[in-house]
């Protein structure tokens, strides 16, 4: 709309017409979310499309850099009668966190000590620990962690799986769950993390599941469920997948690449469709 306003700024007709070219193939947009048929100003991106991109980039940047509102998240969890254990990684602030992934994978010395003393008070028969980590998108955690926690907590109860108090880690990476699980001697680590934000998915939550986590485990020991958000995978579908993985690992005594996710093998047998408008 901004573009059409520009044409009424008093330029002569000849100069004020034809400076913006729209594309005759805008109907293609129904086939993909890609930024196609944007039109052009000369050969450049028109104002509206440019600003809409910048807004999406701004949202993604904010998701990375705005700190997690811990108090808000804690009070949401307390509504579920849950008090999380508050922990910090070894990364001091966002700048160091982004450049030193190794520091985000370890608990700070103080947090490790806190957790070790808490571990002594936890009943040894407790199986699962849900850990919430800000990761690369505080926005994802703020939007989804409390609700998703509620969902999986309920599902674990239905399966008769016992739960320790959850942990909440600031400036953390996925592997911090190995150290936490190791200290707590957890059988099942369920780690919720804010994923690297995409331009159209600043609020994407990931879940990493590790069976009998130990310090020094690698990504090969985990299973990942990605892209949990309203426009991606639903809480229900993600919880279904997680419970499937947990049940499998309890039988097999491991998790990770060797545990192939076949929870949706039926749908994936569908034949891919070949035909499309360009070739018809």
């Amino acid at each position: 709309m901004a573009d059409s306003k520009l044409s009424s700024n008093g330029l002569s007709n000849k100069l004020s017409e034809g400076y913006l070219t729209e594309n005759d193939w805008a109907g293609l947009k129904r086939y993909t979310d890609a930024r196609i048929a944007l039109g052009r100003a000369g050969t450049s991106i028109p104002t509206q499309a440019m600003l809409s991109f910048q807004m999406d980039h701004g949202n993604a940047r904010d998701a990375v850099h705005l700190p997690l509102d811990i108090d808000k998240l804690c009070s949401e969890l307390q509504e579920q009668a849950v008090t999380p254990i508050l922990l910090k990684s070894r990364a001091q602030g966002r700048t160091e966190y982004l450049q030193r992934p190794d520091l985000g994978r370890r608990l700070s010395v103080a947090s490790a000590a806190t957790l070790t003393s808490i571990a002594e008070t936890i009943e040894p028969s407790m199986q699962a620990c849900i850990t919430i980590v800000d990761g690369l998108s505080s926005f994802a955690i703020q939007s989804h962690a409390a609700n998703f926690f509620k969902q999986i907590s309920l599902r674990l109860k239905e399966e008769g799986i016992t739960q320790m108090p959850p942990c909440l880690v600031e400036q953390g990476r996925v592997a911090v769950g190995d150290e936490i699980g190791d200290i707590l001697n957890a059988q099942l680590m369920i780690l919720l993390v804010g994923e690297r934000p995409g331009l159209s998915s600043p609020d994407s939550l990931g879940v990493y599941f590790t069976y009998k986590p130990k310090l020094g485990f690698s990504d090969a020991n985990r299973n990942c469920i990605s892209n949990i958000r309203p426009a991606g995978m639903s809480y229900e579908a993600a919880a279904d997948k997680l419970i499937w993985l947990i049940k499998q690992s309890l039988q097999l005594d491991y998790s990770g690449v060797e545990l192939k996710d076949q929870s949706d093998s039926i749908e994936s047998l569908e034949e891919p469709k070949l035909g499309n408008f360009l070739l018809d």
Partner: protein, 461 residues
């Protein structure tokens, strides 16, 4: 052997050559993460001064990763051309920089010495070059290649049309392909990153792209960027494979982490050649690289990331690729923290690859957790355009909805062609005119071209 120098009022000692190389590298987060970076600005310049006085031939006798331990080192040493090296064999690294910048080093001379250069020599000289040096020398290199069209000729700039889709939906892919073609994109390759490595969906995409190229008689090539072994399987199953793709790195161990070695690349290269699908030339490989890949696989052996990257070009050179693409900002801020580091790295990679004789392109890109934005990409694009980059990416509105990062758009390619007077590959340029997409002068025409008017009912707004 250790190296020392008195400079800036201090005496600096470096225990070995790889330490000199690492400390001489312009600042970047990946070298700090690896613990090999200079601790102070003075130490960095002292290392650069040591490097400038070092004879080039040192790199032929002092391997940074032992010959016995690494097949990439063996490749570099065994394939070194002494005759090509002779004219520059008495140079120090500092002399070499002066010679490269001089008018004596013209396109022909640079081509003649190319096989006499090792990646380490080239990496070393890049560390004592400024941005304008990297641009000036790269601009003098000419490394054209060909398959179904010619890429990298003087004053030409090609694009990889990258029609990625999060679920590999053929119609969604085709929508981005058509949009790109109508914006004059796709002469380097129409290359899709598949969401899955599943062989049947990979073959579906290969057929889709091949059908489009044949149906509209487009002088370009297709590629589905899947693992080299998946390409071999697809070739065995009779799939239409134009280019074989693989990510490569600069050490044997890093390549192992990608699930490859030189033997499997050789096998794939032969298999692709045997299909004989090129009409203009037989460059059948498409490689991607990027600083930081060796460190992320814990396979850098104490080398800095830029030297590791340049060693990957020795691997590429062995297989006469059509395209080599340094995906500079994809790896994230732990390797290249901000726009400044990404820009410098992109120009280094382009310069080093060009000097080694490769058809270098660049994925001018960033992720949302890097300290970078569109302005930084505009700067790198403009500088690489000036440096004569063979190709860049072309993607709808800069937004890759599958890989979740930002690279250059169809519009960006039109910008750089416009301001520098660059044109697409000649065969593709002719096709654009024939199809009514552009004028003879290369200007985009308005509206849906007649050659696509049968689609109007399906794609109109």
């Amino acid at each position: 052997m250790s190296y020392s120098i008195s400079a800036g009022g201090n005496h600096w000692v470096f225990p070995d050559l790889k330490t000199v190389m690492a400390k001489a590298s312009p600042d970047r987060s990946g070298d700090r993460l690896a613990g090999v970076a200079a601790q102070t600005s003075q130490e960095r310049v002292a290392a650069q001064m040591v490097l400038a006085d070092l004879p080039l031939k040192t790199f032929l006798t002092e391997a940074l990763i032992p010959y016995e331990k690494d097949e990439v080192t063996r490749l570099i040493i065994d394939k070194h051309d002494q005759n090509a090296f002779r004219p520059i064999s008495s140079f120090t690294v500092g002399d070499f920089r002066n010679w490269l910048l001089s008018d004596l080093a013209d396109t022909t001379q640079l081509k003649n010495i190319s096989l006499g250069l090792t990646p380490e020599m080239v990496a070393a000289v890049s560390k004592i070059m400024r941005i304008q040096d990297l641009i000036l020398v790269a601009k003098k290199c000419s490394n054209p290649t060909a398959f179904r069209n010619r890429i990298g000729l003087p004053q030409r700039l090609s694009t990889r049309l990258q029609p990625n889709h999060p679920t590999d939906d053929p119609t969604g892919v085709a929508a981005s392909v058509l949009d790109g073609l109508l914006y004059g994109s796709g002469d380097a390759v129409i290359g899709i990153n598949p969401a899955t490595d599943n062989i049947s969906s990979v073959i579906t995409l290969m057929k889709l792209l091949d059908d489009i190229i044949q149906r509209y008689d487009i002088p370009t090539q297709s590629c589905v960027l899947t693992h080299v072994t998946t390409h071999l399987e697809a070739i065995n199953r009779g799939a239409p494979v134009d280019l074989v793709f693989q990510s490569i790195a600069g050490t044997e161990k890093a390549n192992k982490s990608f699930g490859i070695d030189l033997a499997v690349l050789k096998e794939a290269h032969s298999a692709a050649l045997s299909l004989n699908r090129g009409s203009c030339g037989d460059n059948v490989m498409y490689f991607e690289t990027g600083q930081g890949s060796a460190l992320s696989a814990d396979a850098h052996f104490g080398l800095d990331q830029q030297t590791c990257e340049t060693r990957a070009y020795a691997v590429a050179r062995e297989f006469s690729p059509l395209l080599v693409n340094t995906v500079v900002g994809f790896i994230g801020p732990e390797y290249l923290y901000n726009g400044k580091q990404i820009i410098r790295a992109g120009l280094e990679d382009h310069f080093c690859g060009k000097l080694l004789g490769l058809p270098m392109g660049c994925d001018i890109c960033y992720t949302n957790h890097a300290e970078a934005d569109q302005d930084d990409m505009d700067m790198l694009l403009t500088q690489l355009g000036a440096a004569g980059v063979n190709f860049i990416m072309g993607i709808p509105g800069s937004d890759d909805i599958m890989l979740n990062y930002q690279t250059t758009s169809f519009h960006d390619a039109l910008y750089i062609r416009k301001i520098l007077g660059l044109r697409p590959s000649p065969e593709f340029e002719h096709w654009l005119i024939k199809m009514g997409i552009t004028t003879e002068q290369g200007l985009l025409l308005d509206g849906l071209p007649a050659a696509f008017s049968h689609l109007q009912a399906r794609i109109g707004g």
